[in-house]
Subunit: 154 residues, 2 copies
């Protein structure tokens, strides 16, 4: 055990639930910061835990790491998020979740009305519609927000 108030990567990993490799990765991405011992090992200040908590929360809500980085960058002095920061940012997350819920609900209800029809028409069925490819109007357009779509490999 260290007697200082600095934490090793292992300690931070254990307390935050992130793997040490993830912590190193986040450091390379500029999401968290660590000082070094004379021997080159990482030492973290205690507030990194709060920052990591923020990161995990954002990831749980569905933000990408780039978005998390952008959010953290909006904080003056690159400070660790305060209660007010959290409050402000989480409000925009709420909207995002609300939009995603709405999209999934539309999808499910469309599916509901489609069960039993069995059409699966490439031209008119909302479910088999390649997004907007055919549907000039009507359902099928933008069925899901970006992050709920399966990755396309692009």
């Amino acid at each position: 055990m260290l007697t200082t108030d600095l934490l090793t990567v292992g300690e931070v990993a254990h307390r935050s639930g992130f793997a040490p490799s993830a912590l190193r990765f986040y450091e390379r991405q500029g999401l968290v910061h660590a000082t070094r011992t004379s021997g080159g090992q990482r030492r973290y200040e205690r507030n990194v835990l709060r920052r990591l908590a923020f990161i995990r929360a954002a990831r749980n809500v569905g933000l990408t790491l780039d978005e998390v980085a952008a959010a953290l960058d909006t904080l003056p002095d690159k400070r660790t998020p305060t209660k007010e920061d959290w409050s402000r940012l989480s409000r925009t997350w709420r909207q995002r979740l609300t939009d995603e819920i709405a999209a999934l609900t539309r999808l499910r209800d469309g599916l509901e009305s489609c069960i039993g029809c069995g059409c699966l028409s490439l031209r008119s069925c909302a479910f088999s519609n390649p997004q907007d490819h055919f549907a000039q109007t009507g359902p099928g357009a933008a069925l899901l927000p970006e992050r709920l779509r399966q990755p396309t490999g692009r």
Copy 2:
């Protein structure tokens, strides 16, 4: 234009909205089938369009290709999905969507109750909780179904 009722990969691509490369990929994965000309080019039967519509619908709902393949394999004779197949399978998709909506709703409502608290405690806050790592009981457990989680790179 061909005078037969067989479709070229370009025609199928255009009518289905899938890229030719995706059609070839699906063939390698055993999701669709094509015969060949003497010169080695693909020729598709018309019912491949329905099969592709099914695939797109499933993807829109969030199934992985493996799941789509599994679903198609439940059909006797590896037939193209009929109205009844579609009806039966889409019913299970509905449940899946319902579960995902419920999960997102729980997440949002938790966020709601968390705005203003600003705790972000690694031990008790549902949002910063590494899934189940700390929470023996209470909130934070299994915040999101698998497919709504950001990929972890595993």
